[in-house]
Every structure is written in C-alpha cells, then in structure tokens.
C-alpha cells in the first residue's frame, strides 16, 4: 500500500519538495537507519531524563513543586514510551532490544544526562536552561521533519515542553529574587550547566550532514546553539548571573553575543558513556529494569493465558 521511489535521487527530490514519509512507505534503508537512530536517541534521552527527574520527587521543596516534578517525570517517561513504539515500528530493533542496549551501556543518550544534579538549583538550571535548549532543537526538527509519525509526536512534545519552561522560569525567579545564599546556589548550578547546555546542540554540523540532507533535522547545530545563546546570555546577565565563560561578550557592532571557544572533549566523553555520572546513571536505570522484571513477566503470563 505504501509508496516507493525508483532511486535515492527520486526519494531525495520527494523530501526536498516537502514530502512526508509514512511507515508503510518503501523508504531507502539508509533513511530508515538514520530516522531510527535519531528517534532511539531521543527516546533514550527522555527515559534517562525522566529517571533523573524522578530522583527529585521526594526532595522537591513544597507540594506544588512536587506535583510539577511528578508531572514532568510522567511526561518524560510517557514521551519515551511513545517514541520507543514509533522507533520499534521502523523494524530495526524491538523496544526490548533498545532498552536492553541502553541498560547494558551500549545505547546513547543526550550529554546533559551524563552529569549529576547536585542541588535543587541544578534542577532549576536544568528546567530553565536545558529544557529551553531541548525545546529549541525540537521545534526546529518539528518544523521540517520528513518522518510523519515522529513529526506528529513532536508537535505534542513541543507543547508540553513549553509548559515545563513556564515552571523553569517561575523557579528561576525564586532564586533570582532570593537571598544571597539562594543566588550563590543558582550561580554554582549555572557554573556546572552552562557548558553542557551549549554542548547539547552537538558539534558544528558537517556540510554533508545526512540528517540535514534527509530532512530529519532542518537547522545546523551551531545556528540552534546561537539562538539559545542570544536569548539566555541576555536573560542570565539581566538577572545578574555570570555565565562561566570569561570570553563571552557582546559584539559592539551587531549587538550579538559571542562565546569563547568551546571545548568539545567533555561532549565526546559522553558519546562514549564516559561522562562524570554516566556509569552511575546507567547502572541505576539497569537496576530498575531488573527489579521490575517480575512485573513484566507476570503481565506477559496473564496475556498468554488470556490468548
């Protein structure tokens, strides 16, 4: 029932004209692999992010924040759940294979989840800075993504992340308008999270980036990073916080922010799951997976008996 294309060039012409690929279509295998890996990375990151968020449910200050953290955890685990289904439909790996790869340290997830959130201010920095960076990236993917099921999920994820950002802004204001101790606490968190957030957009895109060519991404990493820097350098310095980059400056002519040189070594370490907190995070996730195995087995046995 699906469509097919005579050649890769013809398929690329279809994508360039704004065509949307559906799971039933006979897409080129290279496209299938790229879309799959991209969605798998996103799903893994939502899951690892959700688990990180969950650690803060008992520690959130006050009932209202606890409710927000609970809801964010459910959002992120729910996004992972949906994304794993969509990735599995591509037929490259099953959902269980993706999860087992992740827990056996063979999977990849976003760099920001390879670091430890030390204090509640770190959680606020994540909600205020990292979620905003994720939103900028996801909006750009949503705008021109050529894979239909992923594009439709992103539309909802973007709406929900926008709502997380409101929480982030509200929590940041508590620190910005708070006591000297609170301001120091957020500054220390900013010192930890500024560079990982810049890294999150990825190293500068190569001219022949397959993700751009296949219309999975629509904007280069450095352009998205620049968008974030322009907005957040202004906001943070406006609140009197100091990003930990001695070379960060405003270009006197264009009025635009220019960062110092970015050291990519920490990002590369996270690609190999060798970030500061990678081992603990993966082991923790694997422990949950093993501890809940009996639940899955019980449900499967009920389903088998019913069939």
């Amino acid at each position: 029932m699906g469509r097919s294309w005579g050649s890769v060039a013809e398929f690329e012409g279809f994508l360039d004209a704004g065509g949307i690929v559906e799971p039933v279509d006979a897409m080129p295998d290279e496209y299938r692999q790229h879309v799959f890996r991209f969605i798998e990375l996103h799903a893994n990151s939502e899951l690892m992010g959700g688990l990180t968020e969950r650690d803060w449910i008992p520690k959130a200050p006050g009932l209202r924040r606890k409710l927000a953290v609970l809801a964010k955890t459910q959002d992120e685990i729910g996004h992972a759940h949906l994304l794993y289904m969509v990735a599995a439909d591509l037929g490259v790996k099953t959902r269980v294979e993706m999860l087992e790869d992740l827990f056996a340290n063979r999977g990849r997830f976003h760099n920001v989840f390879h670091y430890q959130a030390v204090t509640w201010a770190d959680q606020v920095a994540i909600a205020y800075l990292v979620d905003a960076a994720a939103l900028i990236s996801q909006q750009a993917v949503f705008k021109n993504c050529s894979y239909g099921p992923y594009k439709r999920i992103l539309r909802r994820i973007v709406a929900e992340e926008g709502f997380h950002m409101r929480h982030g802004e509200e929590m940041l204001l508590v620190f910005a308008e708070g006591t000297a101790v609170q301001r120091e606490m957020f500054q220390a968190a900013l010192d930890r999270w500024w560079w990982p957030t810049l890294h999150m957009f990825g190293p500068p895109s190569k001219p022949d980036d397959a993700l751009l060519r296949w219309h999975i991404k629509s904007e280069r990493n450095e352009d998205l990073r620049d968008k974030w820097v322009q907005k957040y350098a202004t906001l943070l310095t406006g609140y009197g916080f100091v990003p930990p980059d001695p070379d960060l400056r405003r270009d006197p002519e264009s009025g635009r922010w220019v960062t110092g040189e970015i050291d990519w070594a920490p990002l590369k370490a996270t690609f190999a799951n060798l970030g500061p907190d990678s081992a603990r995070r993966v082991a923790d996730a694997a422990r949950h997976w093993n501890e809940t195995r009996w639940v899955r087995e019980a449900l499967e046995s009920v389903a088998r008996r019913a069939a």
Binding site: L67, A71, K72, Q74, H81, M85, R152, R155, A159
Partner: protein, 164 residues
C-alpha cells in the same frame, strides 16, 4: 456548564458584566493545548458576578493536574482585566467530575487536527485523527499526561494519544 449558576442574576447590568467575564475566560488557552480555551475544554463550571467581585468555579480534568496553578493564574489575570472588576476568586471544585464529553465538539475537531490527539467520548466511536478510521485499540493505560492513554489505530498503525 451549570446554567442556573451562570444566569442567576436577572439584573441587566450584572448580566452584561457576566458576558464580559465569560468572554474574557473564553480567551484563556489551556497550557497544553495552545489555541484551545479552558471554556471549550469544559473546565468552566460557574461564574458569579456581584458588583466588582467575581467568583469563578473551574473543574480540573484530573485532580493531580500540574497545570492547575497556571490555569487559575491565567483565568484570574483575564477576569481582572475586565472593566469594573476589582476582586477575583478562582477556585477548583471537586464536583462535578470532568469527563471528555465536556469538551466542545468544535474543540474536539481542533485537538484532533492540531495535536493528533483523539477524544474518547463515552458512547461514541472514537476516530483516528490521522486516517479517520474508527479503529483505535487501547495500547497503554498511561501516556505522557494523566488525562491521556495511548491507543493504536488498527487501520494506519499510528500510536494515538487519547483524552479519556
């Protein structure tokens, strides 16, 4: 909506003010469905206008909904901006219980078209927002938010979040 609570003031001046307050609330979007108002979602239960004082009763979709504080703040700001209003109380009531049948038919169509989210109204077939087939089967009781489950369309294969 509880009409008796909304329309229990026959005084024409108060009635005009009531309409102005309702119009203001109709302009408040739900934080998770930009473009769909809280009135269309069926969150508004009653409005009472007493001179410059306004009370608004809202029904939460789920009692643990994390958006409640934002919704209340947005509703309060919108009503406060109405001429002649200087005291606004917005509260969430626990009865009646919200259900998807409270979503206005036009909003159900927009939620499907803009967010690819289905609305499961009890006693009515739920169609797939992507292909239109009435072939959704429950896949997971839990989705990203408490008010939505995940269904799968047997016709086109899409995973559909469904407001329940």
């Amino acid at each position: 909506m509880n009409r008796s609570a909304v329309c229990d003031r026959p005084d024409p001046a108060a009635f005009g003010q009531q309409n102005a307050v309702l119009a203001a609330l109709a302009g408040v979007d739900d934080p998770e469905y930009p473009g769909v108002s809280i009135v269309e979602l069926g969150l508004l239960e009653a409005v009472r206008v007493d001179g410059p004082r306004v009370e608004v009763d809202l029904v939460p979709t789920f009692s643990g909904c994390p958006a409640l504080a934002f919704i209340a703040a947005d509703a309060e700001a919108a009503v406060r901006a109405v001429d002649g209003v200087d005291d606004v109380t917005v509260r969430f009531v626990s009865t009646p219980v919200w259900g998807p049948e409270r979503i206005a038919p036009g909003a159900r169509v927009r939620i499907a078209a803009d967010f690819a989210v289905a609305v499961a109204v009890p006693g009515r077939p739920t169609s797939c927002p992507v292909c239109g087939a009435a072939a959704l089967v429950e896949e997971s009781m839990f989705g990203p938010v408490r008010c939505r489950s995940i269904r799968r369309c047997r016709a086109c294969g899409e995973r559909i979040e469904t407001i329940r």
